[in-house]
Symmetry: C2
Subunit: 421 residues, 2 copies
């Protein structure tokens, strides 16, 4: 994409009504725009990041046999009444439509997925069943804050699993745990994410959250110094020792919950009387698990962790582009033409090799502005071509997260392949 | 995908509460499920079709320089008040959230996109600007009917263009027209879609709709027998002659509107005072166009057109899979094993060649059931392997829209490539 054509613009000063670092950086760099408190639009750069996050999640969930479906946001009151959540779920946005028909905008889909899947499952032979969606959700948050980390409209992946027994659920639950670690690893969060014990509700003793350690987090977790298992503050009093290794040394950290996994048992299958016929012909309630990851929240979390004074530093797999190719303008028109010609050749070359490239071809920007924009936007690899580099038939290469600048001959540009893989 | 694992199930009888053919077939074939009137969930098969439609649209819109963005569904009352549509747009779903904050669920995004794009456009140099999204919309339809063709929640592509002048808008409008024809052609609707003159509102004399001729349509159009331009019933009285060729022969047809394009002029830029600085330093209002295509409606329309008594007949580019590979079970276990082994080899082979294959590996279904399911689901190419075909080292190939069955040697299976391209 040529930057001169990109629908975007960097903003020098942080917007005054945004206190969180992630929203400040994402707005300044031209990734998102605030429509109202807790409600954001995504510019092309922002949507690319969101789609990369979505792709990583889909790939890992499909590896554990999740099948993608799409359920509606508009969910009839009667579905919510069946589980009692029409009254008990405080953050439900409620709507009265024409003819008095009432709906809630779904913040989660147990009330939809259970009667939906129920129509297709009769016997033990139809189980297990794993379905997920990547969808926009709504929550009537009384107070929004923290930019993308707590919003009224957000994108998330929600996976639901259905089983013949608790044993079978337990096995799949462990698979999801592994898949989640892989998801967060691919997003550059491996060192920062902690499997965290949290309250479990009525069915199981506890659920698990995936908490990313950041000072911008709203939660407090206690990380076992020995085995890295963490415990959420809510239930810390019940677990004086680490349930994994038995040690008692914990480190208190602020963190943000980016995912959670939950053994629901029959909590939602019972209200809908979702039964299956077992091998012995008896009818039994289906056992269920649910597993969530927030795309938009992850995007905010990644920015909170990966930044410096100059801007965002995107991890490779989520970056909107892999390469930021920058042509610096010269005052000499003949040299300018040569710079442009060489830059365009490299641009087409890289794209031919399936690299995603943002090409800063803007003619009215000084080098300082171009470098500042590139640092703010945060693409992993910067390739600069200028009068000075052209004299040596070279380009200047810099990785966003390093200080080091390298001069590479244009004919040796294949070196980029290694840096990008 | 192995059919034994697919989250889906065909249903013999049409659901009683669905009168429209598209919903009946899509529910029976396991593509969609009805949650409430005008609100549907998509099973994996249905979501694949929706994603294929989305991909075609994205590709064609990006060819005319549209840049993908994502705007929220939850839009503050004040945006709608600015244009007067809080009161005048009858089908707005309205929500009152905590703290009394009011929103509408967006059925269209002029009220969002104008103040959004406005933040990034200052001068004539920043124009034109083309942004689009593929997003879920909401409409509080008083009466829903026609299955996927008129729903309360639906997916659509909405493109918005911003220009320095009417001339520039006119040029882009023609480009969009061409792109739309290409989109509908790729979906197999080339012979069925008519560019149709419709009322234009305040700015231009008329807008254009893309109407697909089908007896299930809700609109009446008059198609010029000579040049294929059509006129919507609403404005027919004003156009006794075809504006294209001057002829007066029209054929009345029922049709469904699958897209519309609209020269908005300054209708929405004026309420937001969206101006740009022109070359002569004067400030002028930005001129705007908007262009919509409905994904879910297209899915319903395609089913209305492409079906027979046995089920759906998907056009190639929108089909959920390209090949339906069916292994017929034999009573002889040794032969069964050989069938299975051969089928799996073909399955892996086709997937290795990047073909999307649904492999009917179900062991508890009789041949008749498998054929009936395949016809109902409607994948373009059926490849059958059975005891009988194995005797000749062959498979049986049938295109869904043809009667002819061909016997092809397994070693010659590359013939499939031609049939699939």
């Amino acid at each position: 994409m040529k930057q001169s054509e990109l629908f975007s613009r960097t903003i020098k000063d942080a917007p005054k009504n945004e206190k969180s670092l992630n929203a400040q950086l994402l707005i300044r760099a031209g990734f998102i725009d605030k429509l109202s408190a807790g409600v954001y639009s995504f510019l092309p750069l922002g949507l690319k990041v969101l789609e990369n996050i979505e792709k990583i999640i889909s790939e890992e969930i499909e590896k554990i046999d999740g099948q993608k479906i799409l359920m509606p946001g508009l969910v009839s009151k009667k579905n919510w009444e069946q589980t009692g959540r029409w009254k008990s779920f405080e953050e439900l946005f409620k709507i009265k439509g024409s003819g008095g028909k009432e709906y809630a905008l779904a913040p989660t889909h147990e009330e939809v997925v259970v009667p939906f899947v129920q129509k297709y499952i009769y016997s033990y032979k139809d189980l297990p069943c794993y379905v997920y969606q990547e969808q926009v959700k709504f929550r009537d948050e009384i107070r929004v804050k923290s930019g993308l980390m707590r919003t009224r409209e957000f994108k998330m992946k929600d996976l639901y699993s259905f089983h013949i027994s608790e044993d079978d659920l337990d096995k799949y639950y462990e698979k999801v745990k592994t898949a989640y670690f892989k998801i967060f690893e691919r997003m550059g969060l491996k060192e920062k994410v902690y499997l965290t014990m949290a309250s479990g509700g009525s069915f199981s003793d506890f659920s698990h959250e995936f908490q990313v350690s950041t000072s911008a987090g709203e939660d407090i977790i206690y990380v076992c110094e020995n085995c890295k298992l963490a415990i959420n503050k809510e239930i810390k009093q019940d677990y004086l020792k680490c349930s994994e290794c038995g040690k008692e040394q914990f480190r208190e950290e602020k963190a943000i919950e980016v995912g959670n996994i939950f053994k629901l048992g029959t909590k939602y299958t019972e209200p809908f009387n979702f039964e299956f016929v077992d091998k012995d012909s008896s009818k039994k309630l289906v056992t269920m698990g649910c597993y969530g990851v927030g795309h938009t929240r992850l995007m905010g979390t990644i920015v909170e962790i990966y930044n410096d004074k100059q801007g965002i530093i995107w991890p490779k797999e989520v970056a909107p582009f892999q390469v930021h190719l920058i042509a610096l303008n010269s005052r000499d028109q003949a040299i300018n033409n040569k710079i442009k010609k060489t830059a365009e050749k490299i641009y087409h070359d890289l794209r031919g090799r399936k690299k995603e490239v943002l090409y800063d071809d803007r003619v009215d920007k000084r080098p300082g502005e171009k470098f500042a924009d590139a640092d703010l936007i945060g693409i992993p690899l910067r390739v600069v071509i200028s009068e000075r580099t052209l004299e040596k038939d070279s380009v200047e290469i810099k990785e966003r997260h390093k200080q080091e600048v390298r001069i590479v001959k244009i004919k040796d540009l294949r070196v980029l392949n290694n840096m990008l893989s």
